[in-house]
Symmetry: C2
Subunit: 227 residues, 2 copies
DNA sequence: TTGATGGGTTATGCATACATATCGCCACCT
DNA sequence: AGGTGGCGATATGTATGCATAACCCATCAA
């Protein structure tokens, strides 16, 4: 394992967790000091993050955690909807019976979190549910595209599932997809996943628009109240 | 412009052109000597290429131009079909009349290359045609995903359009998509693009399978005869 | 008071030196 | 004769030094 990889992963974690927020500077020196490495691996970690889109580099001006505009957010959601629907259709035709049973178990476990409006627990369940579908698609490349897109949206996307109403609806929509899996209905499974992602996406797009607006009005501090 | 960026772009060009072939080593020292830079930007270029999937790095063992297995090729084609269809459906609903006219002009210009079975000229036309659709989708993120996927497949994909029969069929299929654009029929445009990419994809998958097979039998040299 | 200008500061970008793991080769042992 | 172990060579990974461009702020003029 290279030092640059560990630095990269730790930054990714900090962005996911919200410790690093869109617009925050990611500079070589502070990274090298925090992780006790020289500037070289710190710099390489930043470049890797830039390649995956998590940070944006300007020559001679350093890197900042990528801020997503409302337009970009809509574009990414549009793409994610398509990718998730495709993965779901592939999975609908390829999931083995025991994998569908596994999905049902996980879905049953998620009900408690959904009822309790426990967004932390629900997000953990949500990840497991979707991840099983990616694997079930038998398409590692497609799964990678989806994971990368979701990773880039985490800061904003996280927030959409903190809305209590959304959690309950999300769980119901998962159930609808699962029913289509049991029926082996590829087209219906795809459509239901498309609707599911779109539902979350609407919340997400609104949030990004709100953040963008707040950022324009009152500077970065203003986003605090929403995250 | 950073030195690492120019090095990266030149390597990308060499991979696209076939000067660098899957399995070829890409080492820091030779890059730094060829492009008259130090090892640092050469190394950074390699890491950027690795992030986009064009080369594969093994810790302490250097980088090689990514070799695509038959399974990976199928996965990438499956994904590309979905992405291109999505971009086409978006474009069908968003292209302005003058953009459709531009597409028609380009398509008309491509007829000559198609008739002459001039695969070089046809590939140039082909890129322009598809590129206009990506732009017409009004989704820069989706367009980026498609370009990245196509870039990763260039070495193999190039070859599919060198088949004379495929060139003629490809041009006809473009015409069918264009007709759907004129009719403003989103679903039909998407379906026709899906079929179009799939047609090329079949040739492509066969080719990768052949290369993989050849590689297993006779080592890397064996792929020479196909490229 | 506001704007422009210039110098100092600092972080990035590149070059280079050093550390270390991997690989190939050869001798030696079985 | 074939396999194994160690040694040398080489390339990667890391650290550090140097050059330069961008930023900040003070100073000055309108």
């Amino acid at each position: 394992m290279r030092a640059s990889d560990t630095v990269r992963m730790r930054i990714e974690t900090e962005i996911q967790s919200g410790a690093l927020r869109p617009g925050d500077a990611v500079d070589e020196r502070s990274l090298s000091e925090r992780f006790h490495v020289s500037r070289t691996p710190a710099r390489e970690a930043i470049m890797q993050l830039a390649a995956s889109g998590l940070v944006r580099m300007s020559p001679r001006r350093g890197a900042v955690v990528t801020e997503i505009s409302a337009e970009e957010a809509i574009n990414m959601m549009e793409s994610l909807v398509s990718l998730e629907a495709e993965a779901t259709m592939l999975a609908a035709g390829r999931l083995r019976d025991d994998e569908i049973e596994e999905l049902e178990r996980i879905h049953a476990e998620g009900e408690e979190a959904a009822r309790a409006r426990d967004s932390g627990a629900y997000m953990a369940y949500n990840s497991r549910f979707h991840e099983l579908i990616y694997v079930g698609s038998r398409n590692a490349y497609l799964a990678g595209l989806i994971r990368q897109a979701r990773l880039r949206m985490t800061f904003y996307h996280r927030s959409s599932l903190t809305q209590a109403a959304r959690v309950a609806a999300s769980w119901e929509e998962h159930g609808a997809v699962l029913a289509a899996f049991r029926d082996g209905d590829v087209a219906v499974a795809g459509k239901r996943m498309r609707d599911h992602i779109l539902s979350g996406g609407r919340v997400y797009a609104d949030l990004v628009a709100a953040l963008t607006e707040a950022g324009r009005e009152g500077g970065a501090e203003r986003t605090e109240q929403v995250g």
